[in-house]
Amino acid sequence: MFHRESGVFKTSYVADMALYPLPITKWTAAAFAGLFIVIAPLILGEYFISILDLILIAVVGALGLNILVGYTGQISIGHGAFMSVGAYTAANLVVHLGAPFWVTVPAGGLMAALIGAVVGIPSLRIKGIYLAIATLAAQLIIEWTINHVPAISGGVQASIQVPRPSLFGTQLKSQTQLYLFLMAFAVLAIVATSNLVRSRIGRAFIAVRDQDVAAEIIGINTFRYKLWAFAISSFYAGVTGVLYTYYLGIANYEQFQITVSIDYLAMVIIGGLGSVLGSILGAIFVTLLPIVTRSFLETFGGLIFSQADLANMIPNLRLILFGGLIIFFLVVEPEGLNRLWRNIRNYFRVWPFSY
């Protein structure tokens, strides 16, 4: 992810597929883990931890969508709906059966995976923009169903209150406790995705993405792998929904509407399709951008405008800046932040002897 040797010295497939291509990579990963798991909760205030919480949730969802869109090449705008499936599954399990989080998280994921696989069936016949519309239909159908079936939604308000998760008898209440709780799942998602994409299944996904007829000819069952991609991606979405539910203490379908699906699609496109690091960068970018642009405007806007005008201007300017920055980054590097990072790395790899 961060390091590269100065040439190609690999002599076996095992070495080529290794998770850590160099020994130092392992230490970098350990250092990052130490920084975010041990040091960050100690030095950061509650507010910054709460932002990190939102980012962690987004990372899980973005990784899931990237498996489908980036690795397998199937477009989906129903990601938000799969999150709501996970959220309501977990909420009902908690409320009716008192299930602990280690039951509800996989259960929410599995339910979403099941529904995601069903929604993925049309992907056998249709591709590209047509598939996008089919998944859009799924988004609307799931929203409608939750809104109108009280057995799922728990009443006319379509929201179910869920107590915070507890671990060994203590309820995880503070932002830091929730941060570590969410971090566990985010790390699990990152490790699982990194391993998935270098496994047989992951390679099959990539083959389907690059040319599905060719993939079929070399013996890949495209139907099965497309459904797998939908199921795995929806599993991640379901888990994201459950994490959201625990983080906010409520399952509510209005938190998972189509704008959310589009936000996640923006994350994987901006971050970089078909890369784990790209999903993480995209999740960070889309979550942080509104916050950073606002603080920027609050800090420097006061120099030019009066406070009353500023109150009116910041929200609007923030939207403009948000859109503008997304276009800027995509123009600078259409393949996303991940590619941008790789370019920088490649430049410094031979620095100062670049030719």
Binding site: E46, L54, Q157, A158, I250, N252, N316
Partner: protein
């Protein structure tokens, strides 16, 4: 060890900054979320300046009990993650009272409010069951909830139709989202009590296409009265469609988010909407002394008052919302002898709000630890000769039925 040192250093720095700020001027901070962008911006562009104006007015008159009110406004674009982030930010800035914006946001923040012991308000939206202060200790609807609105609408229709609803037909037209569904249980309870016929007509979001529903109402169902529970652009579309279908608008009433000047104007003006009844949780119109005071404040600064003031319905709601926060802080300061109030103090301050009417703009609320709604008072205004004319004084509809529903909602 090093990180521990850093924590200590950060804490000292924070304490120094905080101490420095309070030494100069005593401040109480209110955190407000208010959307000038996003799907609810029609309301936001009027209500957000109104909230700010009232706070400015209080501060220009010397603040509250020796404290200045510091108000911070953030826009969540009607998105829940943003709302959560902004809540945490304002908490970090020291807010002891929060204005929440939006029903899903109120639901998402409810648990945090309890954990952090900070009171939040959701006037006219939010969770109806949160009128029960014992179950929602830190959430204050402070104005009529959707349940009270529905009940008041039926009460008004009953009076209008001659005191009995037996055998009458009422149509309920609602935006097809949870907020739209919310009054339904109350309407169904009342249907059993009063013996009227009720049929509901769902309008799918975004609610700009409802020709079929209105035609169905006007031509086939022919109800004795229609209740509109719509949001955003859809109330104006509804008014237009009733007019086109020839259904008299004097038999239509809009609940609180279908009852602003902007809706009337977007429907084609006051003549089109002549006779339309609107339900209000804050007084409508210009005849309130507080509005003149705000105008005077702007005049003293030789500035134009904001254009939003012409949209009296929404503007007055903004005044109501921030006035109740200021009143709660005043109560808190009176009760604790002028010490820097905590969130719990302000919560107790809200629960002591009584006889605070702001010249008739605010209903005769009586907020108690059990009743965070303050009674569920509404007023009905009718569109007549180019303005809103008051039809009723503050009243409550079937308070015992609403109370029973709140109790049952556990």
């Amino acid at each position: 060890m090093k990180s521990l040192l850093m924590v200590a250093a950060a804490a000292t720095a924070a304490a120094l900054c905080f101490g420095g700020a309070t030494a100069q001027e005593k401040e109480v901070m209110i955190g407000g979320q208010c959307d000038r962008t996003g799907p609810t911006q029609i309301v936001g562009v009027v209500i957000c300046p109104a909230i700010q104006d009232y706070i400015d007015l209080v501060n220009s008159n010397g603040g509250v009990e020796g404290y200045k009110i510091k108000y911070n406004e953030l826009d969540n674009e009607y998105k829940v993650p943003q709302a959560v982030e902004e809540y945490e930010r304002q908490k970090q800035m020291g807010a002891v009272s929060m204005l929440i914006y939006g029903t899903p946001q109120a639901q998402a923040l409810n648990q945090k409010l309890v954990e952090d012991k900070i009171p939040g308000t959701s006037p006219g939206f939010g969770i109806s069951a949160s009128a029960d202060g014992t179950r929602f200790p830190y959430l204050f609807p402070v104005a009529a909830t959707y349940w009270s609105q529905g009940a008041a609408a039926i009460q008004f229709i009953k009076d209008k139709l001659g005191g009995s609803l037996k055998g009458k037909k009422i149509a309920y037209v609602y935006y097809d989202n949870p907020a739209g569904h919310e009054p339904l249980p109350i309407l169904e309870d009342l249907q059993k009590i009063e013996g009227f016929e009720l049929r509901s007509f769902a309008v799918p979001p975004p609610g700009v296409e409802m020709g079929a529903q209105v035609l169905d109402i006007a031509q086939r169902y022919r109800p004795d009265f229609v209740i509109d529970h719509l949001f955003g652009r859809s109330p104006s579309v509804a008014i237009k469609e009733y007019k086109r279908a020839g259904y008299p608008l004097s038999k239509v009433m809009g609940l609180v988010w279908a009852s602003a000047e902007a809706d009337i104007l977007a429907a084609g003006g006051w003549q089109v909407a002549e006779g339309y009844h609107t339900l209000q949780f804050a007084g409508a119109g210009d005849d309130y002394p507080i509005r003149q005071e705000i105008r005077a404040m702007y005049k003293a600064q030789s500035k134009e008052p904001p254009k939003g003031m012409d949209d009296t319905v929404i503007y007055n709601r903004g005044i109501l919302n921030s006035a109740l926060h200021v009143e709660a802080i005043r109560n808190a300061l009176k009760a604790n002898g002028g010490k820097q109030p905590t969130g719990t103090d302000v919560k107790n301050g809200f629960e002591a709000i009584h006889d605070f009417t702001l010249g008739g703009l605010v209903p005769p609320l009586k907020v108690t630890p059990e009743d965070h709604e303050g009674g569920g008072w509404v007023q009905i205004f009718q569109v007549k000769d180019g303005k809103f004319v008051k039809e009723t004084e503050w009243f409550r509809g079937y308070p015992e039925v609403v109370a029973a529903a709140v109790k049952k909602a556990e």
